[in-house]
Structures are given as structure tokens and as C-alpha cells.
Symmetry: C2
Subunit: 443 residues, 2 copies
């Protein structure tokens, strides 16, 4: 592709890339509220943050991606010897970084990242061509407390956004337990993969269509009936009674029992619901899997994840137990909007300072400097303006307090500090002892 | 390009993209310190944050980029109707976003963003193929207080990183003033562009080579001498005396005079140094330009920018005065490292909690929950471990305090809270009134 350098002449406006978002300041504030909730919750649970380039080698990305994702990867035109692409997910980069230092790092490690990912998809509700995702991963730990800890951090993030167990719940399943259940009712091993594939579509297509899919794979009507019957199980006691003497489900049952115990100890029980039918895609997860949903089932999964113990070895590293959780920004932002709940906004501006003309500028600059030096945010007008224009700007900037310098302030050395919420104006003498910080906390 | 889905078999490790950085947790903490300094300083000065996609249409990026940058753009293979690429800089996206809402937005606006940008370049010190850049822009203001305000925010960021006027300085020039100076000594208008081009290389090549470049452009030896003589000017008074009666420099002189006045009022004078030879590339800046350098001239410019009044109109918008500043993460991080000054690190972990075995887990979980609920960060061990292993992990995680639960703690209900800095252990009764927050502030 040749590069054309035209001289800059006025011409048609250039549009944004389709399916990708601009964040104007008002949208950015919402995003920042979400990111801060994610960040604080991960730090609160002892995760350390890391980041990898949004560009990776195509080889790495394809090695991990399923066929559907592979088709959606944005590939870069070749430059140099490496064939590069935009990441559709962060996990391959995580695996690459860990494998590169697998001998030096101390395990288990708990890593978190907020990563932008790109997929070329048909646009629809809850799907864009880029999104940000909080990734929480615990690498090197086989105890199911690992699953509980990633969930604990995600639940805290939801709570910080004002959502609790009345708003969402988490479906908990287990790949190994589901296999044991299939086995217990006589489904042949050879049919397991086809069953997973069909059941994974449960949120998208009707039960009749799933039955059809199963029939097409050569699964008998009786077996399909047994499978659907298993999916109605909602407690581990029922699993235990169904499995009866099938001892080979022992470790899968122990694992999920211990998961629910730890979750209870950490106060998460109200959020959890056992559901053997949680699948979450294929060929990646190896143990407990989970998905969080709106109680009103308004949308796609809010977050999800599970145990994936084979990833590192599949990419050339040593085998290590891993647990991961992905929490995207699009579904949760839509959900908060529908519920009319704003995420906590970013920090607001404490002061706006304006002035009438160039004679008033030095005093305005002095006031702004003093406010800024005390650690408070302050916008300073850039040229002389009428009071009306200034106060309307202060309002638009969401400033908590506004100070206008005109000739009378210049003459008297007294300032009027206007509280923008209630309109009250406090007269303050401006000298070296003026404490703008206490004015804010008093206001 | 065809997508090959191999079955995951153990194979060679996959390398990272060349010239792009992984941020392991220790590196991420440094980066976070820098980003927080940027963010806080921009907010302190009343900037609002925004963000645009890292992917833009190639058309937009090329329209703004000079020839050198255009060759370095990473282009995406076509998907759909838009031809996309990775941004080499944020300014085209800023212009696109403003033009799209030029009728609705209130001006002047002060926008900030921390944006990752990509350029395919030969790697060398201070240059990678991606970097993050703080962008500060003021759009819609012709007063030179705009230049001062972007500089004020950048200087505050440097101060937050522990650097002051003994460590760096900012060279201030003016395109229009330089033209007036050229004119005053009789350089023909037709030679101005060649002069800018040659002088812009001053940091990279010797004065002899520049003289050669000027000669090749048909500039006489006498004229070259006059040009170099102008570049030695270091004060506005000298400019005034040189220009004497040349009235057409009036507005350029007024502008830069007013710039230095405002800078004085806002306490920036110690950082500024007038230097008519600052060029900063071609065909983009239209007025005052500036560049910050290490006092020891160790590296490339730390940050730079200036007034660019033609960008919006060149991209299809209405003409509007603009001032911008770019502050990359690579040069400043190298500089801090060479000076042995760490940027303020991200938040540290307040507590690590570990336990000996599964009997001790419930109490450990309870303690961790209580700490987390009080808003403090806490890492909880994921399985039973010996004290020695636990405390070494707590140390590696930079935890401020560590609590280990063994059988004796379980029996007594008393915890030992170890201060990891001085090794002191405080015995604390654990019940509903235990205040982990006050333990931290007391420690």
C-alpha cells in the first residue's frame, strides 16, 4: 500500500473506525469510575498489576485462539520479520510472559491487568470491535481457594459499583464433574465433546435446537433426556446422591466442595449458584468454570472464567495449574446504565478561577497557583471574561467552587468563593494564610 | 493469510514483538508511578481526560503525518471497508473527535490523555516501537496563557517525580519571531523553509554539517553566518534591540512577552530559557514552540510542543487556535533511572495473611475478609504453608504487615501482626472490634 502525502486542503470530515469507541470527557469519567473499581478491588485482594503490548505475534495469538476467534483477529501488514496482530484476548500474552520467566518467578502468583482487546465481529448489543477487560489470573496454585479469590475480587468490584446479590449471581460448574455425571448415566466417552459443544449454545439457541444438534451427533433420544435431566441439578447433595458409588468423581466433588467451603468463609455464598451446565467454550478450561449474570438475565455474561491447567504447556512452558477471570467493560457499562446507576465518577475539579481582564490576571494566577500547590485541582481561565461566562464554564467543568477576580477583588484583596452546589458565596481575605483546602472541606 | 489451527503440542517458546515492552509487576509499579504523576498534574491544572481508539483510519493518520512518520505507520490488513492502522501519535484522533462535535463543544477546552502510540523505527536509546505519551491540548484559545498552562501541568508532573529546575529546563522559541529575525537580517523569504529544515537537525548533526546543508540550498556564507548569530540570542531584550524598527514582528514579540509574563505569574520562570532556534519539525507548529531537556543534555527532549493553529482546518474542521504538549514515557523513565530516582511507586500492599493448614484456613479467611472490608489491601495464602515460606512471600509482595495463622493462633484467638519493615510483632486479640486500619497507621 503506497503512502500518499497530499497537501493539507479542506475536505470531508474523516470518520472513526467502525465499532470502536471515542471517550469524550463525560464518557471517560464513567470509564474511569469502572477502571478504578476494578483496580482497587484487585489490589484489595493482593493482585499485582502487569501489562503486555496490545500487539503480539500472530503465531502466539493463533496457538491459543479457537477457530472462531482466529477469524476475528486483526492482522498487521508485514514489516520486518515478525508477523504481528492485535490481541483478541490477553491470556496468550500472560502465558508468554510467564513462560519467558518460569524459572525465576515465585509461584503462586496473582496477576491483574486491564487490557484493551480487538475482535473483528458483527456489531450487536454488548459487542463492539474493541473492549477493555479486567483479567485476574492465579498461576501455580491447584487449591480451589484460587477460584474463590478471583471471584472475591470481581464481586468486590461489583459491590463498589453499587451492585449486590440482588442484582447478579454467579453460576458455578465443573468440567470434570459434568464428565462424571455423564458417565454415571451411561453416556459414552466418545460423545462428551459433542455434548459440551451443544450445551455451550444453551444461552443462544432453544432446547429443541440443542436436542436436534445432539441427535445429529448420533446421541440417542434417551441419552439426550438424561443429559437434560442432569442439567436441572442445582445442589451438590443431589450430585452426590446421583453419583452414588461412582468413586472416580471423588476428586472433582472434593474440589468443588472445598470451593464452596472457602467461598462461604470469605462471605461469597449469597452470590453463588451451582449449575452443572456451565461450559464456557471448549478445549481450554479443565476444572471449575463460572459465569456471572444479571438476575434479570438482561444481557450476556458480566464476567466469567475458570481453571485452565494446560495452557502453559500448550505454548511451550512447563505445566502449571492456572485460574483466570475476564470482566469486560461493555456489558457492565450497559447494565449500570439500564439500572440507572452511575459508576463512581472520577475525581471532580475542586476550583475554577476566572478573571475580568489582563489587569486582574496576576492576582488570578496567584490564587490558582496557591490552590494547586495545596494539592487541589484548579482550572484557570485563559483570558479575560465576563462573570456570567465564567460561572457557566465553571458549571460545565463540574467545579465544586468558583472564584472570580474583577476590579473590586483586586482593590479589596478579598475573594468571593462560590460553592457551586448551593450557590452560597463566602468572602475570604487572600493572603499567605488563606487555606483553600479547609474551605473545600467546610463547603 | 490463512489461519492454521494446530493441536496444542509442546513446542518452542514464542517471543515477544520486537521493540515492544512487557511490564512485569515491578516495571508496572514504576509505570504506574509515572502515570499517576501525569494524571494528578493534569487534573490539578483543570484538564479533562479523554481517549480515542489506538486504531484509526489510515486516511486520518496520513493526512496529519509528515513523510517520515507515514513510513513508520503499522497498517492493518483490510477487513471490511475501512483501511485501518495503529496511531503513531494521538493528535489526529484529537482533531477528529473535536471536528465531529465542533458545533456542540464549549471552547476553550483543556483535554488530556495518556495514549499508547506505535511507530516502526530502528531501535535505539530512548526509542522503542511503542511508547505511552501524555498529551495535553488546549483548543480554542489564542492567548499565550494556553502555552503556559500546558507547561505548568508538565512541570508539576516533573516536580512530583522529584525533578526541579536544577535537573531540567525548557527552551522556548517562536516560529513567527524567528521569521521576523531572518527578515531583519535580510534572509530572503524563499529560504526560510530550508533554514528551518537545517536548523531542526541541530541536535543531531554538527554545525559544520548544517552549514553544508544551508550552502547546498543556495544560502550564502554571509547569510549562514547571520543565521547562526541570531541563534545565539538568549533574551527578548536582545531580540527587541536587533529588530529595532521592524514593526511587523510586533505581534510575535507581544505574544512571547505575554507568555513570559504569565509564566512568571504562575511561578515557572526558573524553568524557562528563551532560545530562538527551537524548531520542532515542520509544517505543523505556527507560533510559540518549546522543548524540555535534561540539564546535563543526557537525552532527547523530555517533552515538547507548541501552538498549531492550522490542524483542524487541514482535517476538514473550522480553524481554531490550538496548543499541545507531548510527554513520552521512555525518555523520562531512562532519565529517572540514570539519576537513581524512582518515581513514586504505586500503592503498596498493606497486609499478607497466611495459614498452616486447612484447619487454620477459616480463621485466616475471616481475618483477610475483615482487613479487606476495612478498605486495606490483603493477600491471602492460597494453601497451607510453613511460616518461613509465608514470610518470604509476604516480603516479595512488598506487604507492609504480615499475619500468620497456625494452631496456637487458632487456639488463643490472638494474632501476631508483624511489621515487615522493622520486624516488630504486635499481639492483637482478634474479635469484632479489631481495627486493622489503626494498626497500619500506628505501625
Amino acid at each position: 500500500m503506497s503512502v500518499c502525502l497530499e497537501s493539507p486542503v479542506p475536505m470531508k470530515k474523516i470518520s472513526a473506525p467502525k465499532g470502536m469507541r471515542d471517550f469524550y470527557p463525560d464518557q471517560y469519567r464513567v470509564r474511569l469510575g469502572l477502571f478504578r473499581a476494578w483496580e482497587e478491588s484487585a489490589l484489595n485482594h493482593g493482585f499485582e498489576f502487569y501489562e503486555a503490548p496490545v500487539v503480539e505475534t500472530l503465531e502466539l495469538l493463533q496457538r491459543k485462539a479457537g477457530e472462531e476467534i482466529s477469524k476475528q483477529i486483526y492482522i498487521l501488514e508485514e514489516k520486518g520479520s515478525q508477523h504481528l496482530a492485535l490481541r483478541p484476548e490477553l491470556t496468550p500474552s500472560l502465558a508468554r510472559m510467564i513462560i519467558a520467566r518460569q524459572g525465576e518467578l515465585s509461584f503462586p502468583l496473582k496477576w491483574a491487568s486491564i487490557a484493551q482487546c480487538f475482535r473483528y465481529e458483527r456489531m450487536q448489543k454488548g459487542r463492539k470491535r474493541e473492549h477493555y477487560q479486567l483479567n485476574l489470573d492465579i498461576v501455580g496454585e491447584s487449591s480451589s481457594l484460587a477460584e474463590v479469590e478471583v471471584l472475591g475480587a470481581a464481586v468486590l468490584a461489583m459491590q463498589s459499583l453499587g451492585l449486590n446479590h440482588n442484582d447478579f449471581y454467579i453460576r458455578i460448574g465443573s468440567r470434570t464433574l459434568l464428565s462424571a455425571l455423564f458417565k454415571s448415566v451411561g453416556i459414552p466417552n466418545a460423545h462428551f465433546m459433542a455434548c459440551y459443544l451443544a450445551l455451550d449454545k444453551r444461552e443462544k439457541i432453544s432446547d429443541d435446537e440443542i436436542l436436534e444438534l445432539l441427535a445429529r451427533e448420533g446421541i440417542s433420544k434417551d441419552d439426550s433426556g438424561r443429559i437434560f435431566d442432569l442439567l436441572s441439578i442445582r445442589s451438590l447433595n443431589e450430585v452426590r446422591s446421583r453419583l452414588g458409588g461412582v468413586s472416580r468423581a471423588g476428586s472433582a466433588l472434593d474440589e468443588i466442595d472445598s470451593f464452596f467451603e472457602s467461598a462461604e468463609e470469605l462471605g461469597l455464598s449469597d452470590y453463588l449458584s451451582f449449575d452443572p451446565g456451565v461450559i464456557r467454550g471448549l478445549g481450554y478450561y479443565t476444572g471449575i468454570v463460572f459465569e456471572a449474570f444479571d438476575r434479570d438475565n438482561r444481557s450476556r455474561a458480566i464476567f466469567g472464567g475458570g481453571r485452565y491447567d494446560n495452557l502453559l504447556s500448550s505454548l511451550g512452558g512447563k505445566t502449571m495449574p492456572c485460574v483466570g477471570l475476564g470482566f469486560g467493560d461493555v456489558v457492565i457499562t450497559d447494565m449500570l446504565e439500564e439500572l440507572n446507576r452511575d459508576p463512581v465518577m472520577g475525581k471532580t475539579l475542586e476550583y475554577a478561577v476566572g478573571f475580568m481582564d489582563v489587569q486582574c490576571r496576576p492576582l488570578a494566577s496567584k490564587v490558582a497557583s496557591r490552590i494547586r500547590q495545596s494539592g487541589l485541582g484548579c482550572d484557570l481561565g485563559l483570558s479575560g471574561e465576563k462573570p456570567r461566562k465564567f460561572f457557566s464554564r465553571a458549571n460545565r467543568l463540574h467545579a465544586a467552587h468558583a472564584v472570580y477576580i474583577g476590579p473590586s477583588e483586586l482593590k479589596s484583596g478579598r475573594l468571593g468563593v462560590k460553592n457551586m452546589a448551593d450557590g452560597e458565596i463566602r468572602a475570604v481575605r487572600f493572603d499567605d494564610s488563606t487555606d483553600f483546602k479547609s474551605l473545600v472541606s467546610a463547603g
